[in-house]
């Protein structure tokens, strides 16, 4: 299949992106926030907090940490408003900030294993595990007891999601939970469309392999 055949449309299972509802309203709020209107930015936060928080939650697996990270993302966006030129939609710009912030934080935590430790005491990630296993960001394993998932299956999904590499996890979240199109994912993560497609395929197949025993 050529890249031209990659659809921008969303599968029926995907959640509609909040970016679809943004546009002119976002732009007006951005202008007001740039002029120093903190209230306008608060409105922007309300409009996009679900999306940003969901990304953080699915990447970290912990609500409290996800809220902190979402807050950091919005603060970062507010301080960077002057650099937002309006070439793309505000939502796309914000999602790019959120995605990179999540990836950077996870990478930073991965490099500080002694400070964060193995959250879940997972038996298959001992100290002497090979780097390939460590690269799976096992230290980001969800603390299932604090997850307010509605079903056991959702807890399992979240747990298995955390066992993916950060690269696979974020592309799966952006596509299958946040519902971004391939183009939006490419723009958000700064990847080629073909890379998005192939990486998404590998992430899905791995997730399917992990979840099949529980389904």
């Amino acid at each position: 299949m050529s890249e031209a055949e990659v659809p921008a449309s969303l599968p029926a299972t995907a959640v509609s992106p909040p970016a679809a509802a943004t546009g002119e309203q976002d732009r007006a709020l951005v202008d007001q926030a740039r002029a120093g209107d903190v209230g306008a930015f608060e409105m922007l936060v309300r409009r996009h907090q679900g999306w940003v928080f969901t990304l953080a939650l699915r990447m970290l697996g912990d609500r409290a940490e996800a809220e902190d990270m979402a807050q950091e993302i919005f603060l970062k966006a507010y301080r960077g408003l002057k650099r937002f030129k309006g070439a793309s939609r505000f939502s796309t710009w914000l999602y790019a900030i959120a995605s990179h912030h999540c990836l950077n934080q996870l990478e930073a935590r991965r490099r500080r294993p002694l400070q964060h430790g193995w959250a879940g005491g997972r038996p298959d990630h001992a100290e002497n595990d090979p780097p390939a296993v460590v690269d799976r960001l096992a230290d980001q394993a969800p603390r299932a007891d604090v997850l307010l998932e509605r079903t056991d299956l959702q807890r399992i999904v979240q747990t298995e999601l955390a066992n993916l590499t950060a690269e696979h996890r974020i592309i799966l979240v952006l596509r299958d939970i946040q519902g971004l199109s391939y183009e939006e994912i490419a723009q958000t993560l700064g990847l080629e469309l073909g890379t998005v497609r192939s990486r998404l395929h590998r992430a899905r197949m791995e997730m399917k392999a992990r979840l099949t025993p529980h389904l």
Binding site: M1, E5, V6, P7, S9, P11, T13, A14, V15, V38, G39, F41, E42, V45, R46, Q49, G50, W51, F53, T54, L57, R58, R63, A66, E67, A70, Q71, F74, L75, Y78, E149, L153, Q154, V157, Q158, L161, L172, D176, I177, Q178, R197, L200, H201, R204, M205, M207, K208, L211, T212, L215
Partner: protein
């Protein structure tokens, strides 16, 4: 299509990204392959389970908390606020504090001699001269000529030894010099002292080029009136003919501790021609003849082609005279007249040499006075020579 190829298309199939022949091929394979059909069902369930996680919402009040964070000033903003706000209170306080510190520094500097001394060597070497200018200055040799060779180092040692023992005033045997300064002459001499002080200051503050020195000296020597020249030459100088009274003999004042330290500091630095000459002038000004002699000799030795050499020799000879070292003075006066026969200083050097000889009891001085009167009738020294002849060479 193989099973692997069909399963590789699951992701695209799930996203409804397949169309045409690929879609038909995959669909046909799934219809005919129960294993792939089961895999596809499993794939869809897994993806549906992921999608079911859905969008989560943060706890209530999240946006308000973000806003609170936004309104908290950053660290740099807090530093600026702490330093300057409110402006109308803190800025005046800071300005006053800066002024107080500056004032305290100034006071400390003014009341601390060590600080002042430490900074003085780095300034132009004028202040000491300016301060010492009012003291009597040895004969200004700037306008006078001479001849004779510079005394070698051993001679200097001998002269020091000579200086160490109490001087037998050779001049005591000689009749009081005709030029011995009367009170009126002293009065007349004070302007010349000021003039000399100015000259010293000029020399010390702005190390002039030889040309400047030459140009500032010659017009004066040529155009000055005889009387003026006499006033400039005679009154302030402890010439051999002034025959200082025994009580006044130890003219050379012991250098003050401050002056001594100043000299040590300045001697520690590399001494250029200008520095040597300026130092010598300052020493002459404070009647530190030993140091002046040392500096002048060093200047002459190190800068034999300098246009100030005749002047330096005259000043050197005058310093010897001030110490009653007439023999050495005569040699320097002779050097001026011999080495710089065209210099306007020659008649002065000859006249002073004659006086020095008379101070030693050498009657050849009388013949020199006649020569001065005969050979330089227009020079101010001619009149002085005739007067001396009438009083001392009858």
């Amino acid at each position: 299509m193989t099973c692997d190829e069909a399963r590789a298309a699951f992701s695209d199939l799930y996203d409804e990204a397949l169309s045409g022949a690929p879609l038909v091929t995959v669909t046909q394979h799934l219809a005919s392959c129960p294993a792939c059909r089961a895999e596809w069902a499993s794939f869809r369930k897994a993806m549906q389970a992921v999608a079911d996680l859905g969008i989560a919402e943060p706890s209530p009040g999240f946006a308000a908390r973000v806003r609170q964070q936004l309104e908290i000033p950053t660290r740099s903003q807090r530093v600026v606020q702490w330093l300057f706000l409110p402006l109308h209170v803190k800025v005046p306080i800071q300005a006053v504090a800066v002024l107080l510190v500056a004032f305290a520094g100034l006071l400390l500097y003014q009341r601390s001699p060590e600080l002042r001394r430490a900074t003085e060597p780095y300034q132009a070497s004028s202040p000491p001269v300016a301060r010492e200018a009012p003291t009597p200055v040895p004969p200004p040799a700037a306008e006078e000529p001479t001849r004779k060779k510079e005394s070698p180092a051993p001679q200097a040692d001998a002269s020091k030894a000579e200086q160490a023992k109490p001087e037998v005033p050779a001049t005591a045997a000689v009749a009081p010099p005709p030029q011995a300064p009367s009170e009126a002459e002293k009065d007349r001499g004070s302007p010349s002292l000021r003039e000399e002080a100015k000259e010293l200051e000029k020399t010390a503050t702005a190390p002039e080029s030889p040309k400047i020195e030459e140009s500032s000296r010659e017009p004066r020597a040529k155009s000055a009136e005889p009387g003026m020249a006499a006033r400039r030459v005679l009154p302030s100088a402890p010439t051999p003919l002034q025959a200082p009274a025994p009580s006044a003999a130890p003219v050379q004042a012991a250098p003050s501790p401050g002056a001594e330290m100043e000299r040590q500091i300045s001697s520690a630095r590399p001494r250029s021609a200008d520095q040597l000459y300026s130092t010598a002038l300052m020493d002459l000004g404070r009647q530190s003849y030993d140091q002046a002699i040392e500096s002048l000799r060093a200047f002459i030795q190190q800068n034999p082609r300098d246009t100030r050499v005749p002047d330096a020799r005259m000043r050197l000879a005058d310093a010897y005279v001030a110490q009653h070292r007439y023999s050495e003075a005569i040699l320097e006066y002779e050097a001026v007249a011999r080495e710089f026969p065209d210099s306007p200083l020659v008649p002065v050097a000859l006249y002073r040499q004659a006086q020095a000889r008379l101070a030693l009891g050498d009657q050849a001085g009388c013949q020199m006075l006649r020569d001065v009167a005969d050979r330089y009738p227009q020079a101010p020294e001619a009149a002085l020579a005739r007067e001396a002849l009438s009083t001392r060479c009858r």
